[in-house]
Every structure is written in structure tokens, then in C-alpha cells.
């Protein structure tokens, strides 16, 4: 029985890939395809949150920080690409004669930018995670600290207008690594890259979940001390999950910029970081597809319901948080498992934070 189980998830990823990469471009208008691209960016970050929070028990409320690292790396590169030899317009007013800030200079290089999108979050998350996990900062403390960090970074960016564009952010990008962004064909390409990256992230997480590391991570989440008494340092286990989730947030941020065309501190602060979590909670924090689907659903809700009924949407979003967390802590993805579990054996309820289906998936 057990050998075939992983293939269910894998074919799920395959189906997802077909839907995103083949079906969506054919059936959606350019506008909705671009929107879907935006949701994909959130979904990439959400997959990482699912890993850190759902499987690792670390409520990362400051993923905006890592989202920002990727987004601003990308945005700085695209701004320079658009500006060419000139200094970007927003910098001129404050000091027309000053040169480009030093930290902008390397972002002219495509290679450096791509490297920065990967390395910056890894470096920051490793040092931050190392410091926090070694000191056994966890639970609510960890959540609030990461959230405070997101607020601090958003404030910092808002107040450094010449260096980062401030509250207005960076926008008006003309080119994406040499491709004209106004060309619908190129926009589709950007979408496809984002969708493909989402598939890659899902695949990476799928492999992590079925690996021994995945089991160790769940074990660490549920009984950190016990893991320590098995000779592991839980800090290292959590660190890996945290760094991977930071990397994914950064990749999501990087693709967000060419798709949406603007990045501002509002996209990385407290509210944005919490919205990223909303999707994960809604879809199912510990499941493979839940976070991605939840993020896409919340994004879609914002686009469609937010249009037709803006006041109502805020209430719906608020209620979503309350109802889902209260009654469905494992999100919508736990519904089917609940039904089947209830039918098969009423007294063997699925365990509280991970559903039975996933447990089976991880069996040999």
C-alpha cells in the first residue's frame, strides 16, 4: 500500500503544474493571468510558511522581511535597468549631485541580483534563526519578534526615501532582464516563471515532507525537548526549515515585482505579513497543497469579492480567520480527511495538527 502513496501527491503536483502552466494561459485573460501570477508569488511564500509553521511549529509573522529582500533586490535591478546610465528619478531631488548609493551599484549585475535573491534571505534567516533558536525563543515570542522585525524594516524603508524610494516604493519598471515588460508575451513569460517556481517549491517541500528531515521537523514541533533527548539539536532542525521558508518568501517577492510592477513597504509590513499567513491557515498549514491553494484563494477573494463588496470583504477576511482557526485548525484541506476518518472509525480522530492522510503519506 505504502509505495504508491507518494505518487498521489506527486501527481497532484503534476496536475497543479498542468493547470498553472498549460490550462491557465489558455483560458485566462491577460489581466487574470497576471493576477494569478501575483497569487502565485504569495503562494510561493505560503508554501514556505507551511513548512515553517505547519510542519515546524514556528509561526513566522514576519515573512514580509524576506519577501522584501527578494522584492527589493529585484526592484533595484529593474529600476537600474530602466534608468540605464542615469540615476533613478526619485533620488535626484534630494541630492541631484550625489552618486548612486553604494549598495545599489552591484544590483546592476544580473548575476549578483539573482544571487542576492537567494543568498540575502539565507544569510539573514540563518543568523537570525541561529540566534533565536539557540536561545530557545519560540511560540508567541518568536511570532511577535518576527512581526516586530517586519514592522521595523517597513518603517526603515519608508524613512529612507533616497535610498529605497520610501513609502512610494519602487515602480515603473520598463524591462525585465532585457525583456520589455509592456509586451503581453513577456508578461506571460513572467507569469510562467512564477508559476514554474511555485511548482518547484511545491516539489521541494514534497520531498522535504517525505524525507526523514520532514519527520524530524514534525517531531521537533510536537516535542522539542524529546528530540533533544534523542541526541539532536532542535535548533538546527528548525533553522533549516526557517531558512528554506525565508528563501521561498524571497523568491515570491522577487517575482512579485515584475508581475505587479510596484513594491512598497506596505507589501512587507505587519498587515502584509499577516495576510500571507491567512492563506496558509485557510488552506491548511500542515498539508502540502493547502498553503498554496489557500494563498491563491485569498488573493482571488481580494480581487473579486474586494471589488464587488469591499466593506464586506474585510468582514469576510476577519471571519475567515476566526472560523477557520476555531473550527478547522488544519484548514480546508483537512475537510476530506475529517469526513473519511469520521466514517471509518469514529473514535480514531485525526491528530490535532496534522491529518491522518499526511501521516500515511510519510509511511514507508
Amino acid at each position: 500500500m505504502t509505495k504508491s502513496k507518494p505518487w498521489i501527491s506527486l501527481s497532484g503536483i503534476g496536475l497543479f503544474a498542468v493547470l498553472l502552466l498549460a490550462v491557465a494561459p489558455l483560458v485566462l485573460t491577460d489581466h487574470w493571468l497576471n493576477n494569478l501570477g501575483k497569487y502565485c508569488c504569495w503562494a510561493i511564500a505560503a508554501v514556505g510558511i507551511g513548512l515553517a509553521w505547519g510542519r515546524g511549529g514556528m509561526l513566522v509573522m514576519g515573512q514580509g522581511v524576506f519577501f522584501a529582500l527578494g522584492a527589493y533586490s529585484m526592484a533595484m535591478h529593474l529600476t537600474l535597468e530602466t534608468a540605464g546610465d542615469r540615476i533613478p528619478g526619485f533620488m535626484v531631488l534630494y541630492d541631484p549631485l550625489a552618486p548612486l548609493p553604494v549598495f545599489w551599484e552591484p544590483f546592476r549585475s544580473t548575476g549578483f541580483t539573482l544571487l542576492a535573491i537567494v543568498l540575502l534571505p539565507v544569510l539573514l534567516a540563518s543568523s537570525l534563526g541561529y540566534a533565536l533558536f539557540k536561545r530557545r525563543v519560540k511560540g508567541a515570542y518568536f511570532a511577535i519578534l518576527t512581526q516586530a522585525l517586519a514592522v521595523a524594516l517597513a518603517t526603515l524603508i519608508s524613512s529612507t526615501i533616497r535610498e529605497t524610494g520610501g513609502d512610494t516604493g519602487l515602480s515603473d519598471f520598463k524591462y525585465f532582464f532585457g525583456f520589455v515588460l509592456n509586451d503581453p508575451a513577456n508578461k506571460r513569460m513572467v507569469y510562467l516563471i512564477a508559476a514554474a517556481l511555485l511548482i518547484v517549491c511545491l516539489f521541494a517541500v514534497w520531498q522535504l515532507y517525505r524525507s526523514r528531515f520532514g519527520e524530524l521537523l514534525v517531531a521537533t514541533r510536537d516535542a522539542e525537548e524529546r528530540v533533544r533527548f534523542l541526541g539532536y539539536d532542535p535548533a538546527n532542525v528548525k533553522l533549516v526549515a526557517f531558512v528554506v521558508s525565508a528563501l521561498m518568501a524571497s523568491i515570491g517577492g522577487a517575482m512579485f515585482v515584475p508581475i505587479v510592477g510596484i513594491i512598497t513597504p506596505a507589501e512587507i509590513g505587519a498587515a502584509a505579513s499577516i495576510l500571507m499567513i491567512a492563506g496558509v491557515a485557510f488552506g491548511g498549514r500542515a498539508s502540502l497543497f493547502g498553503p498554496a491553494l489557500g494563498a491563491i484563494a485569498v488573493g482571488w477573494g481580494q480581487s473579486s469579492l474586494g471589488s464587488t463588496w469591499p466593506d464586506g470583504w474585510t468582514y469576510i477576511l476577519g471571519l475567515l480567520f476566526i472560523v477557520v482557526i476555531l473550527f478547522l485548525p488544519n484548514g480546508l484541506s483537512s475537510l476530506p480527511a475529517r469526513f473519511t476518518a469520521a466514517r471509518r472509525s469514529p473514535d480514531r480522530q485525526p491528530a490535532p495538527a496534522i491529518v491522518a492522510a499526511e501521516l500515511e503519506e510519510a509511511r514507508p
Partner: protein
């Protein structure tokens, strides 16, 4: 299934994904091969002008932090549309508006702009408030060759063939305020602002002009937009002993500023404040502390013009009305009528035709602030400069007025104290 073939499959799948992306990547235009600028690639407009209605888009934050200000603009746009419809519409077509929520989220502004242009096929979009929202909308309307009417005073130094600015640019609000201060013999000025682009740019301009006017800037303080507590900064103002405070604070942070100011023993009698974002809408939330201070706007509810009483009456009678009128509301009201005038001059809803009409004709509108004229080149309008002093009814008594309507000059080209090299770089950077 053996391990190797499992891996093989996975690799094949990944490879297929990669190839698809690369194949599709080959299709689009590269940086070198744009033929006649980027606009050529915009899809033809899908605006439907065959029926007896014309669709317009209203884009305002109805939720989130900026809903505080933008809800009113949205309401006044609805009122304007109703008025125009009652009078027969534009080119005989009734306005059917699509209201969108920007949700105080700038990417949402970009998304909704694209939706309004490509899904709803509106002929023009009205709205936005913060500079961030405008900057988010700008590339999208330019890409799709749409029209965007922006109703709020802003930092200037911008122009776009696809945006019409019906609020003041710096030379219609900041500079008149400085002229007023000079006329009052102010020698020492303190600059207090929220930490974002408008106050920073405004203060950069103020400092340049102050040097020319011989006004000393004795301090400059910024507080994040979402912070109300000005206690520490006001202590510095007290220490600097300015004659006047130039206030570019935005939103509810203004309330905190006024309270801290009052707590510290400063009063309108000793150290008055001149603001550029406190209007009839904002004043009531600040209590009696704000009485006696000044604001620089183009429109005040107290203005005695031919058209103002009707505007105020209609607004007071309108459902959801706040009962008072203010400059951004009036600018939003103007923007609808300006669009009407432009379309009727062009005889068409087509964007290029409208822009051509703006250049060829003299487009005017008898606005509540007076008869405004559109500058067809920079897409701003002429405006009267007014300084109002807040009275105990939270209305403004006119304390100063410019001797004539001020022509819009977003790049401050007619002001010799504005360094030419900065202007050139800004124009260059704007492309």
C-alpha cells in the same frame, strides 16, 4: 516503480517545465527591438461607445487606513456622475460607473487599474490619493493607454500623457503658502512632516524658496505616517522658537501633532501653523486646538464664487454626505467635469483624440474654486491660491488670495531659484 525511473520522470517533468518557459520566453520583445516606443504594444482599446451609456471607473480606498480620506472622494465622484447624468450625460451618453476599492494597498491600485481598463473597458479612471497609489497606477495606464484623473495636491515633478492632475502641484499650494509667510514677515520657519515623498519633496522646495525669500529654516522633523505621537518632536520645536510652522503632516498624525503642540504651550497666537493637508474634512477630528491656524488650498467651502453655493448644496443633500466640502473633493468633482469638457471638445471618448483636444482647445470649467483652465501640455489645471484661517466652526476664513489664477508648473520651470540641473535630471529620469 524503481527509484531510478522515478527520478528520471521527475527530471523529465522539470525539464519540460523549463523548456516551456524558455520557448515562450523567446516570443516577447527585447529591450533593443521596440520600434516606436513601448506604447505600440498596447492592445486596442475595448471601450464600448456604441450604447447610450459610457463606462467610467472610480478607484478609491474604501477599506484600510486611507479609507479615512478616500471614501469622501468616492462619494463626491458618485454625486458628480449623477449630476452629469441628470443633465444629459457626456456626448449624450449616461455615465455608468464601476467603483473599485484600492484597499490602501498600492499593488491593488495597479491591479484594479488594469481590471478597469481591460476587463470593464472603462473610458477613464478617477481616483487615487497617496502618491504611492498614483505611482502604482501610472505605469498601468501608460501601458494600456488609458486615462487617469488624479484629484489630490501632490509633490509635482511628474507628467504623463495618460494622467490629468486636478489637484494642486507645488507651485499652486506650497509656493503660495511661502508667499503668504513672506508677506507676514516670517523669519524663522520650522518644517514638520510625515515621513514620505510629498513632505520630503515639498520641504526640499520650501528650503530652496526660503533661501530666496530670506526665511531661515530652524528645524525639520519627520514622523512615520502611521504614528500619532509627536511629543519628542514638538519639544524640539519649542527649543527652536520658530515664528511659524510649515506642516506637511498627513492623516491622523496631524491630530497627534496638534495635541502635542498645544500641550507644550504653543498657540496660534505665538507660533501659528500653516498646513497643506488639513481641510474642512480633517479639522473637526482635531477639536478646538486647531482653531486659528492656517491652511493653504485652492478651494475652501467658504469661497464666494458663483458655482460654490450650488456645489455645497448638492453635497449636503447627497446621501452619505459628510456635510462639508473640501479641496480634494472639489478637485475630484472638477475632474469629472473636465473629462466631460475634454470628450465633448474631442467629440470622442478615444484617448488619443481627448489628448489632442486638450492640446488644441482651451478647456475650461466653471469650478467651485473659480474658472479653471486646463494646460494641454502638462495636463494640470490653473488654480487660485488661497490661505484660510480655521475658525471655531472648523471653517476657513480667507486670509490671503493670489492676485490671479496660478498656471500649473509641475517642474517649476518659471522659478529661477529652482536649480536647472535638478530639473533636467528629473525630466530625464521621468523619461
Amino acid at each position: 516503480m524503481s527509484t531510478t525511473s522515478k527520478r528520471l520522470r521527475t527530471l523529465t517533468a522539470m525539464g519540460a517545465v523549463g523548456t516551456t518557459v524558455l520557448v515562450l520566453a523567446g516570443c516577447g520583445a527585447r529591450a533593443g527591438d521596440e520600434t516606436a516606443g513601448s506604447r505600440t504594444s498596447a492592445a486596442p482599446s475595448c471601450v464600448d461607445t456604441s450604447g447610450d451609456t459610457i463606462k467610467l471607473g472610480f478607484l478609491n480606498s474604501l477599506t484600510g487606513g486611507m479609507a479615512i480620506s478616500e471614501k469622501t472622494v468616492s462619494n463626491v465622484l458618485h454625486m458628480g456622475a449623477d449630476e452629469i447624468n441628470a443633465a444629459g450625460g457626456i456626448l449624450g451618453k449616461k455615465i455608468a460607473y464601476v467603483q473599485e476599492d484600492g484597499a490602501t494597498d498600492w499593488p491593488t491600485f495597479a491591479e484594479k487599474t488594469e481590471k478597469l481598463l481591460t476587463q470593464d473597458c472603462v473610458a477613464a479612471i478617477f481616483g487615487g490619493w497617496t502618491s504611492s497609489s498614483r505611482k502604482a497606477v501610472k505605469p498601468v495606464v501608460e501601458k494600456h493607454n488609458g486615462l487617469f484623473f488624479y484629484p489630490v495636491q501632490y509633490e509635482g515633478l511628474e507628467s504623463s500623457p495618460n494622467i490629468y492632475y486636478t489637484g494642486a502641484t507645488t507651485n499652486q499650494q506650497i509656493i503660495p503658502a511661502m508667499d503668504f509667510l513672506a508677506s507676514r514677515g516670517v523669519k524663522k520657519l520650522f518644517l514638520a512632516g510625515s515621513d514620505y515623498v510629498f513632505p520630503r519633496t515639498a520641504n526640499a522646495i520650501i528650503k530652496l524658496y526660503a533661501a530666496k525669500l530670506g526665511i531661515e529654516i530652524v528645524g525639520e522633523e519627520y514622523v512615520p505616517l502611521d504614528k500619532d505621537d509627536w511629543t519628542s518632536q514638538v519639544a524640539k520645536i519649542v527649543a527652536a522658537k520658530p515664528d511659524f510652522i510649515f506642516n506637511t503632516i498627513n492623516g491622523s498624525s496631524n491630530v497627534g501633532f496638534i495635541k502635542a503642540y498645544y500641550d507644550a504651550g504653543l498657540t496660534a497666537g505665538t507660533t501659528p501653523i500653516i498646513s497643506v493637508s488639513i481641510a474642512e474634512e480633517e479639522a473637526p477630528a482635531m477639536g478646538h486646538e486647531v482653531t486659528g491656524h492656517y491652511a493653504s488650498w485652492n478651494y475652501f467651502q467658504s469661497l464666494k464664487t458663483d458655482t460654490n453655493p450650488k456645489f455645497i448644496e448638492s453635497w449636503k443633500a447627497y446621501p452619505n454626505s459628510s456635510g462639508v466640502t473640501s479641496d480634494p473633493m472639489e478637485a475630484a468633482y472638477i475632474s469629472l467635469y473636465l473629462y466631460k469638457a475634454l470628450v465633448e471638445a474631442a467629440g470622442s471618448f478615444d484617448v488619443d483624440a481627448v489628448n489632442a483636444a486638450a492640446k488644441k482647445n482651451t478647456i475650461t470649467f466653471d469650478a467651485p474654486e473659480g474658472k479653471v483652465t486646463l494646460d494641454g501640455d502638462n495636463h494640470h489645471i490653473s488654480k487660485p491660491g488661497h490661505i484660510g484661517q480655521i475658525n471655531s466652526n472648523n471653517q476657513f476664513d480667507i486670509a490671503w488670495a493670489s492676485d490671479k489664477f496660478i498656471e500649473p508648473d509641475p517642474y517649476l520651470e518659471s522659478y529661477d531659484w529652482f536649480p536647472a540641473d535638478i530639473r533636467k535630471q528629473l525630466v530625464d529620469a521621468a523619461g
